[in-house]
Symmetry: C2
Subunit: 383 residues, 2 copies
């Protein structure tokens, strides 16, 4: 009843946003995924305001998106296999294709020409022209594709859940050149590229450990480490698989969520040894570095997802515990770190916090918000 | 005679750019400083094209600029003390103040509200409202201000050439709070902030060495290192002081230009020990990391400034030597590293190179170009 009341209030409210301006700079725009309604809220970071809603994107549960280099277009990867191109200036969908039965993410090439989508059903990678969404390459796989990332030089890397195979695809020539880099191990569940595009890290579910490939090397080899890392037994249910894209890289360390435990693990980036463990409020989901600071922010799996904690990467101690709202699903920082935007799904709000005072600056109404994506992501490798 | 012919050809040519579009995304725009004519060329990175010229900015020799968080406005710091606000969408100057006799640079606060300018004549820092360019704070100094950088939390750090004093100014409250952090040493000539806002590094001219302050610390203390670093004697003229803003941070190292020598120095970021020296073509000026790669690109002081070299940060060896044009003054990378744009002052051209093939992709006419600044800088701390 309560959620119905909230929903009705939202639907009856006056428009959330002002009229369109002919001249809009795109550097401080962003999109919030409304997971239940297949829509996006276009947000203005400077004004801390919603400026438009864009509808008709299909199933956006677990959706992600990426931006064109000019920040004009977003490519939205829906759970229903939909790839939707949205124009942030026209505030509308300009192209949409349902390209598979079940997709889980994608990436855009470093030159902005190609968009790659990783698929579960059928498995594999499809590559599209970023301008037209015409299919330009279809790379089948022997299973579900996970951990698709962009690699400099119009390349992408990805991994297969069922087989553990890790591929590097080079799309800079007339024909795609796909290379099998090696085997990561049993049932890789997600992968991430470090921000310098140096190391492709793959988390394993079917066995303990993390596998790394050095993508700066001409012939990358799998290196397994953190062999104590992984699921710790049947008595500890895993409420939600953590996102490796939320691994924080700070102070020469990886900060990563322990699978199924109320812990954060700190790994030295050079030695790959565990240097510290931080006891946390719940099972970490995203662990994200506050830009230009020593801090990482952590959110948690259900049922403890009303809380966010801040940890100092030098002392490995929790320095703040916030309870901003109900079901905090995602956190997105202003690119220079002054603010963090949090989606509170069950409050139907996006909350804006000052990262220095850790006090609330404002909020924006949104329908069951999940992912928040600022356009500055257009300029970051591996996102 | 030759330069006159080139100039005449430029002036007589048909317009360099197409008409304005009502809808322009700003993520792939940039500005090129035309140092001799007090003008800027607005460039479109995706189209590899000039789209407008903006004139009337005064003395732009040694000019730099910074962007508002939405990427709509540039704040241009001229050598004549002029602070000019340029609207990239309207393609015109919207505000200009001559705020000192001789300024050398500036920065914008992390929240985009304040613009600070570092001045030589008279020395000190002036802080302006980013919207109106109204003066909001005037911090005098006992000498010339160098190395002004933005620090998270609406703060700026700067250093005084004459006294060696290092200040941190906090402008987050009703009144500015300026703290003397300590003394860097004799005649600091430039300073730079690491991209994580952790370490403020100050190069010395009056004595050998570099001084570091840990800005994550509540009470930062000066730590001197690289005490063999600096001018090496009267027999080796220093043709141009290197820019510390061009220090590259890669692979856990600082790559820095030797003052007055044909060398690049590699310093371990943790131990602050020199780990390698690379013999170079000339006296390095800018040493800039190619994003998401192991490479740094280096340009050189006159008279050897027709050459650019690429060095691998793992082997510390020169892997490519290019001679792209006459008087290469600056290098700017596409934010994900796919291209590098070079200003060839005496060719009156900006040259665009593919960083992977290291071949030329295109060029743009510009009048004696110096600095090139892409809007993605809006999202980077310390630039």
């Amino acid at each position: 009843m309560k959620s119905f009341t909230l929903l009705a209030a939202l639907l009856l409210s006056t428009p959330l946003w002002a009229g369109s301006d002919d001249l809009t700079a795109t550097g401080d725009l962003g999109l919030v995924v409304e997971r239940g309604t297949g829509s996006l809220v276009l947000i203005d970071r400077s004004d801390r305001a919603a400026v438009a809603r864009i509808e008709g994107l299909g199933d956006l549960s677990h959706a992600s998106l990426t931006y064109s280099p000019d920040e004009r277009f977003a490519y939205v990867f829906g759970r229903d296999g939909g790839l939707t191109k949205v124009d942030l200036l026209e505030r509308k969908i300009v192209a949409r294709t349902v390209q598979a039965g079940n997709s889980i993410g994608g990436a855009i090439s470093d030159d902005g020409r190609l968009v790659a989508v990783s698929n579960y059903e059928p498995g594999g990678v499809k590559v599209f022209d970023a301008g037209t969404l015409d299919l330009v390459a279809d790379i089948p796989a022997a299973g579900k594709t996970i951990g698709l990332v962009d690699v400099p030089g119009r390349r992408f890397a990805w991994t297969i859940w069922d087989t553990g195979e890790v591929f590097l695809g080079d799309f800079s020539g007339a024909e795609p050149k796909v290379t099998l880099l090696g085997n990561a191990g049993k049932n890789p569940f997600d992968a991430v590229l470090t921000d310098d595009a140096h190391t492709y890290l793959i988390g394993l579910f079917g066995e303990k450990g993390v596998t790394a490939f050095d993508l700066w090397d001409a012939a990358p080899q799998p290196v397994k480490f953190l062999t104590e890392y992984g699921k710790t037994g049947e008595d500890m249910p895993v409420y939600k698989m953590p996102h490796l894209q939320g691994w924080a890289f700070t102070e020469g360390q990886y900060a990563l969520p322990a699978v199924g435990r109320h812990e954060l693990l700190w790994v030295d980036r050079d030695s790959q040894e565990t240097v510290a463990t931080t006891q946390m409020h719940g099972q970490p989901v995203f662990v994200i570095a506050q830009p230009a600071s020593p801090f990482v922010w952590v959110n948690f799996a259900t049922p403890l997802n009303d809380t966010v904690q801040v940890v100092d990467s030098r002392s490995h101690e929790v320095v703040a515990t916030l309870t901003p709202g109900k079901a905090i699903l995602h956190m997105e920082f202003a690119p220079r770190g002054a603010e963090v935007w949090l989606s509170a799904r069950d409050d139907n709000k996006v909350l804006i916090y000052d990262t220095h005072t850790r006090e609330k600056l404002g909020e924006i109404a949104a329908e069951a918000p999940s992912g928040i994506f600022f356009t500055a992501r257009a300029h970051q490798t591996g996102l």
